[in-house]
């Protein structure tokens, strides 16, 4: 994926998170994660990425 591709994905994701609203964003993101995992087809790598995403969630200066 090129940086332009990543940016397109980022924009589409940002727009839809805003559009579903805070109350439904978790539901939406879990559905998306399950859909992506199913397409991706490699459970071990998905599980590694789940742990990767969990890192640094409490970092103070993430913004």
């Amino acid at each position: 994926m090129t940086p332009t591709d990543v940016e397109a994905v980022y924009d589409a994701l940002a727009a839809q998170i805003d559009s579903v609203g805070r109350a439904k964003s978790e539901l939406f993101l879990i559905k998306l994660a399950l859909l992506l995992s199913h397409e991706f087809g490699d459970a071990n790598r998905v599980i590694k990425l789940i742990y990767d995403a969990k890192r640094n969630l409490d970092a103070a200066n993430y913004r």
């Binding site: 539901l27 859909l35 199913h38």
Partner: protein
């Protein structure tokens, strides 16, 4: 998580199995001493000892209906009304529905569901008395 899986299952069937609250490939307890012999009159549907399958009921899901104790699935309003067993949830399913077909049930049929959502007994032609007996057997109180 389960809500997300159920919601996704509306459009993608692979997510349906995730919504099952139990393990993905449930064990079928067909030889347990508290599992009745299966009623051979059933030509289809989940056999005794199997996990209660997921199905859409109205705007909810079948596995979301049972209470904390045993439940009885019935397909006849009158039978549902005649059942009054303390602590047992009665779930009425339309005998003409797809779910009834999925259970191989006719109007007089009944499924007794254990608290862990495995099927304890099923009766092709049930009466309040035979349901009560199946319940007492499943609870270890009587012999078949």
């Amino acid at each position: 998580m389960r809500d997300a899986a159920l919601n996704l299952a509306l459009s993608h069937s692979f997510a349906g199995q995730l919504a099952n609250p139990r393990q993905m490939t449930p064990y079928t307890y067909c030889d347990s001493p508290v599992v009745c012999a299966d009623d051979p009159e059933f030509k289809s549907g989940p056999q005794v000892g199997a996990m209660l399958p997921e199905a859409r009921i109205g705007d909810g899901y079948l596995t979301g209906k049972p209470g904390a104790g045993f439940s009885v699935l019935v397909f006849d309003k009158r039978l549902a009304n005649d059942l009054d067993i303390a602590g047992v949830a009665v779930i009425l399913i339309d005998a003409e529905s797809e779910v009834a077909q999925q259970f191989g049930a006719r109007q007089s049929s009944a499924y007794l569901v254990r608290p862990d959502l495995h099927i304890a007994a099923r009766l092709f032609d049930a009466t309040p008395a035979t349901i009560q007996h199946a319940l007492r057997f499943a609870a270890g109180e009587v012999l078949p």
